[in-house]
């Protein structure tokens, strides 16, 4: 395999995916299972550390763009269900956090644990439940 960078602009890894650095990308299956097992304690409110402004902007982009491929950029649903405030009104926040981190087996919803921490998922759920923010121009 040849890395080709002469004529196409070389892209800084951190520029490609600012969301993902410092997070292990590929969980070995046992590790993932272990992570899943201790999820219940990990998502205890005390563990939450609110994402900073830059991280929040990254999360807005991630939800609008990447989650948007199945749930729609306007979160009105697609292959995945709608994630609007109205649609989620009767869903407990804790179960939504678990869904984001663990996925929903048997459906296309993947576990996002390799890319999102508990605090990230909690913040996303809180924002979804109050109507998710729009992406600002620089929030890429």
């Amino acid at each position: 395999m040849t890395q080709f960078k002469d004529t196409c602009r070389a892209v800084d890894e951190h520029q490609i995916a600012p969301v993902f650095h410092d997070r292990p990308m590929d969980f070995p299956a046992p590790l993932l299972a272990a992570a899943t097992l201790c999820l219940a304690c990990a998502i205890a409110p005390a563990a939450a550390q609110v994402p900073d402004a830059q991280r929040r902007a990254e999360l807005v982009r991630l939800v609008r763009q990447e989650c948007g491929s199945c749930h729609g950029m306007r979160l009105a649903g697609g292959l995945g269900p709608a994630l609007t405030r109205q649609a989620l009104a009767d869903k407990p926040a804790e179960s939504l956090v678990v869904t984001i981190l663990q996925g929903r087996p048997g459906t296309p919803m993947p576990p996002w644990r390799a890319m999102l921490g508990e605090a990230d998922a909690q913040w996303i759920v809180a924002e979804l439940l109050r109507g998710f923010p729009e992406q600002t121009q620089d929030a890429r």
């Binding site: 196409c8 070389a10 490609i16 590929d26 990447e66 491929s69 296309p108 390799a114």
Partner: protein, 405 residues
């Protein structure tokens, strides 16, 4: 600033000019005179600006942006098919909008809200019908391609009051459309020869959760990818009694799948020579299958979960892009050796690729860099970089002349 006498004379002239132009404008629609710029439609293409509900119209020969059409609604996951003359694009929006856009004139000529949530469409073999596949309400709606009047409604009703989301809609020879039912593990074929009375052939139990499908370029095989199991469903449409069968069953070999952060897309471009190149679900692999025997002949390790696996029109190369977080890369497979021969980094968040009809260039949308790169497929040099806001799907008018696109 003091007014020069000439200014008032010029104003008067301009007013006169306006008066003279006005009747000309009113007269224009019925007028047969040539537009300012004459060009055919064979080099036209559109790029979806997913965030802004707009199309950028491009010329693939000059490699330039010609203009922009907006007001198309929610274009997250939008797709496009073309009228046979390449003059009109039918744009299917996520919000159920179906918009007919005149490409040379760069304007919307017709727009209908035909569903609550839509995913794509197809044009019939004779070009007279355009069909939309919908998630909500689940089913297919067929329209007159000229007027966008509803011709037929085919609800994907799998139990009383229960509908399935529809994926993988393609045109088949003979005024027919094939599509797959994600929630019902089924493939249906709708025959529209009698517009008033569509005939539906149903195949049940084709495999779990078909997520998208393709028609081979000869129109013979319809292949649906399965999300819920390792394998694909294949129907040989040339058989007198077509029956679905499973191919590449168990390609995951029982290993736990990796997370699939974005669903692969199958439509259109997978066949290169005698082989089809297909994305594996939950594996960073491209599966190679012999189209004579439908047996796996190779699997090629790639840089992430493949989303689009697209053969260059001559079949010599297959280009692959990936789901987040590996979507900064594009890989090129050399088909004779079945090796990845290039890894490119054209920009951030590569969402789609489209070849010019003879494969000299590939156009790649880099969403987070707001750019479409035009890359020479022989030298891999970047020939042009067109500014397009949050580009996603790229569609060129020669698709009008291919089945299954």
């Amino acid at each position: 600033m003091k007014s020069h006498p000439f200014d008032s004379r010029r104003d008067a002239l301009m007013r006169l000019g306006a008066v003279a132009v006005l009747p000309a404008l009113l007269w224009l629609p019925g007028c047969a005179s040539a537009p300012a710029e004459t060009r055919g439609t064979g080099t036209l293409g559109v790029v979806i600006e997913r965030a802004d509900g707009a199309l950028t119209i491009v010329d693939t020969q000059q490699r330039v942006v010609l203009g922009r059409v907006d007001g198309l609604g929610d274009l997250s996951h939008a797709s496009v098919v073309f009228s046979r003359d390449g003059a009109h694009a039918y744009v299917f929006g996520r919000d159920g909008g179906l918009t007919k856009v005149d490409l040379p004139q760069r304007r919307i000529v017709q727009r209908v809200m035909q569903a609550g949530n839509s995913i794509g469409g197809a044009v019939s073999q004779d070009g007279s019908l355009v069909a939309a596949q919908n998630y909500q309400p689940g089913g297919v709606k067929v329209f007159d391609a000229r007027t966008l009047e509803l011709v037929a409604d085919v609800p994907a009703e799998v139990a009383p009051g229960q509908r399935s989301r529809v994926v993988g809609l393609v045109d088949l020879p003979g005024q027919r459309f094939a599509f797959s039912l994600f929630d019902a593990d089924a493939i249906w074929i709708a025959d529209l020869n009698d517009r008033a009375q569509p005939r539906i052939t149903q195949f049940a139990g084709i495999g779990r959760q078909p997520y998208d499908a393709l028609l081979t370029p000869d129109g013979r095989y319809y292949i649906a990818g399965l999300f819920g199991e390792d394998g694909l469903a294949l129907i040989d449409l040339w058989q007198p009694q077509p029956q679905p069968r499973r191919i590449l069953a168990g390609y995951g070999r029982g290993e736990a799948p990796l997370p699939v952060y974005k669903m692969p897309h199958l439509r259109g471009w997978a066949v290169a020579g005698r082989h089809a190149y297909l994305p594996a679900i939950g594996r960073h692999e491209v599966l190679v299958v012999d189209t004579a025997s439908w047996q796996e002949v190779a699997r090629i390790a790639v840089a992430g979960q493949p989303v689009f696996v697209m053969a260059r029109p001559d079949g010599r190369q297959v280009w692959v892009n990936f789901a987040v977080p590996d979507y900064g890369r594009v890989q090129v497979i050399d088909t004779p050796t079945q090796q990845v021969v290039r890894t490119l980094e054209p920009g951030r968040a590569v969402l789609h690729m489209e070849f010019t009809p003879r494969g000299d260039t590939v156009w790649i949308s880099c969403r987070d860099d707001n750019v479409v790169r035009v890359i020479d497929t022989a030298s891999f040099t970047t020939l042009a970089s067109l500014p397009v806001k949050a580009p996603s799907g790229i569609f060129f008018t020669p698709r009008a002349n291919r089945m299954g696109l």
